[in-house]
Symmetry: C2
Subunit: 420 residues, 2 copies
């Protein structure tokens, strides 16, 4: 069986001047991967007629399926729809189903009174050579074209609308149209060891892998993911082949192993707490709510997560967490003593089984000779016990916050496992 390849073309000046980060491509890649389609290339071009045309020509040579996102809005800077109409040699016609849908959205969902704009009605015009993919979440329809045995699919760039179309229209279509091989990935999450030292541990293991099984090292905020990937015809067969290699790899790195799935630490901790029937909370100074945010991205987190006291000021640390004024004055907000009192205060105030408390200097300002930017103290606690950890980071503000958060979640995870 031949591999089915896809290429993604994203359109929009905002992608080329750095105003927007492209998260659409990652979503499309994940969904395509699940059904065995490999993304071979991703190309971003601006709202420039010739550049879009050239990208369509080139990517049709590179792949079987060309996914185009963006450039379909109702405003004048969006030129993709007429371009596609010319590219595939069609003419623009009003699609009655799309028109009815646009009217429904405006009248019933958006509850607009006054008349609709011409630009909104134009959303219902499509090239007569395309198959319309209905967009339940917005006014711009998806469009599917075929040319020289290649499939071209144009989708709006708004992530929420694009996602709906991929799941409800594009994936079902591709499953009918192509026979796909199966791709299986298995990912192990490690912490506390660098990429090159992991590779050294695995240097005798790696050459034992068959050529169709690939090992990748994916560094991620001081942690490294190890991913084994394989391709084949039957999921069961290739998984059966992959699993022993994966288990052997986990055995080799077991000292550093966090989890045997490609999941964030926030999901890992959630599962451990649900299993044990325990609860947790957080007391954050320097991370400013980012730990809480990650934890609450997990649906159902309210079953084990009580909340966070984001105590950015001295007053919040004293009033809500009961940190002593004396401690703050003598040892400062970034100290072992302060994070211990923050952790104990959070256990009491939030009435939970476990907490993690962090305080640090994220930069760019606020550092001193004793405590330079990147100094972080954290404490993990339950009702009986507190443990502390100090970090010395040397990144920019954004990365200091992310790295502190990853370390705090891992420190808490280990504390829960060791004290339950």
């Amino acid at each position: 069986m031949n591999n089915v390849n896809a290429s993604i073309i994203t359109i929009g000046d905002e992608l080329l001047i750095g105003q927007t980060i492209d998260t659409n491509s990652a979503f499309i890649a994940q969904e395509f991967n699940k059904i065995g389609i490999l993304i071979k290339r991703r190309v971003a071009v601006g709202d420039v007629y010739d550049d879009i045309w050239q990208a369509l020509d080139e990517e049709a040579r590179n792949a079987d399926i060309i996914i185009i996102t963006g450039g379909l809005g109702p405003t004048a800077d969006d030129i993709t729809k007429p371009l596609l109409c010319n590219y595939f040699g069609g003419k623009m016609v009003v699609d009655q189903e799309v028109l009815a849908h646009v009217k429904y959205l405006f009248e019933v969902i958006f509850r607009r009174t006054g008349p609709m704009l011409e630009s909104n009605l134009k959303q219902a015009e499509v090239p007569d050579v395309c198959t319309v993919l209905m967009n339940q979440r917005g006014t711009a329809p998806g469009m599917l074209f075929k040319k020289d045995n290649k499939v071209f699919i144009s989708l709006p760039g708004v992530p929420h609308e694009m996602k709906g179309l991929i799941k409800n229209e594009v994936i079902p279509f591709l499953l009918k149209e192509f026979t796909m091989p199966v791709i299986v990935h298995k990912t192990a999450f490690t912490a506390g060891i660098g990429e090159s030292f992991l590779a050294e541990l695995l240097k005798d293991f790696e050459p034992t892998l068959p050529s169709h099984i690939k090992l990748a090292y994916l560094p991620n905020y001081g942690m490294v993911k190890l991913r084994l990937s394989t391709v084949g015809e039957k999921k069961e067969d290739i998984e059966n082949e992959l699993v022993p290699y994966f288990e052997k790899m986990m055995e080799i790195v077991k000292e550093y192993l966090v989890w045997d799935k490609d999941e964030g630490l926030e999901a890992v901790i959630g599962k451990i707490l649900l299993e044990k029937g325990k609860t947790m909370g957080t007391a954050e100074s320097c991370t400013g709510g980012y730990i809480a945010h990650l934890i609450t991205t997990i649906p159902g987190a309210s079953a084990y997560y009580s909340g966070s006291v984001v105590s950015y000021s001295y007053e919040a640390k004293e009033n809500i967490l009961g940190v002593k004024k004396d401690t703050l004055e003598k040892t400062g907000a970034v100290s072992k003593e302060t994070v211990i009192e923050m952790a104990k205060g959070a256990i009491r105030t939030l009435q939970v089984d476990y907490v993690i408390a962090v305080s640090g200097i994220m930069g760019p300002d606020g550092g001193t000779e004793d405590k330079p930017v990147g100094t972080v103290w954290m404490a993990a606690a339950n009702k009986e016990k507190v443990e502390t950890l100090k970090l010395n980071l040397r990144f920019d503000r954004q990365r200091n916050i992310s790295t502190t958060t990853a370390n705090a979640l891992n420190f808490l995870r280990k504390f829960i496992l060791a004290n339950s």
Copy 2:
């Protein structure tokens, strides 16, 4: 003067299976834009020899400068360095300055004792046809090649290292090598009006723009940014030409105007509070700390931000914010009454001038017939006054959190401006 164009090639399987979101390209685009270099295309390819080679050939035809990121790690899945050596017809040699730097990092900074690994020493090998760009933040050096009048620059994919090299090595080199035109963007932030209705308001204005001034509509979580861009030789001249158009545009959309800069609401609120010498805090249920996180991404936020009570549980709402058990039982956690009590409690507990409190149902579960997923109540308050707002969202969990946060920040901004 001719425009100087660049193309970005990012290398790594993780980009094509959706495991990693490419934030590097946006950073490079922003930095290049500041010095007048336009990014024409961005291409992502996997760790595949032929695909990387093809991308180098193609992008050299598309641009004057080709930036390559990723694929330089010490492990076997990184194939870029030997490929570049072949592509530019060189041979690998040890660079003594890089070697000394790698040793310094290991001994002094990472404080490793034992011997260095061969893979680490290999980081000091570079093709003899490149100019080495010293990477102060890691072991993999940047490399600069020239071929057929084009400049190729290879950088590590680790964001922190790539950023240091761009700022300290690449930009200074390009400023010496090329004579660049100046690009000026001016961005206005609007809220409360859709893209097509903005375009309707601006339909007489847009045709008055000279052809070298471009207007773009950039939707962003229920807000829309309007960006005017222009290119020329002297910054002062083109800015003088652009400003009257920008002011006219702002006048037309003034009812919906949030801010006349390309800045997030969290930065806008920070500036307002600093100017007025006031403080704020947050009380978050459904947003789970995301409002606090955005506010604390701004350096110096501690001058006006006291903290957040992330009250995910009933207990946290009662114990820390003083929400009455009776209110929670009668009206539920997602109600006008509860957010008013949360806001009043936060003003007291956090001892601040302004607060925003939010409570809602983000999904996928937890909705009822009365209060479906997407129901959100929020309250903005100072010591004398409380105002509330209800949202009915219909997105997925992630986007419900982001959209609630954007709306909460804008609601708070308007409340501060109206009540100070």
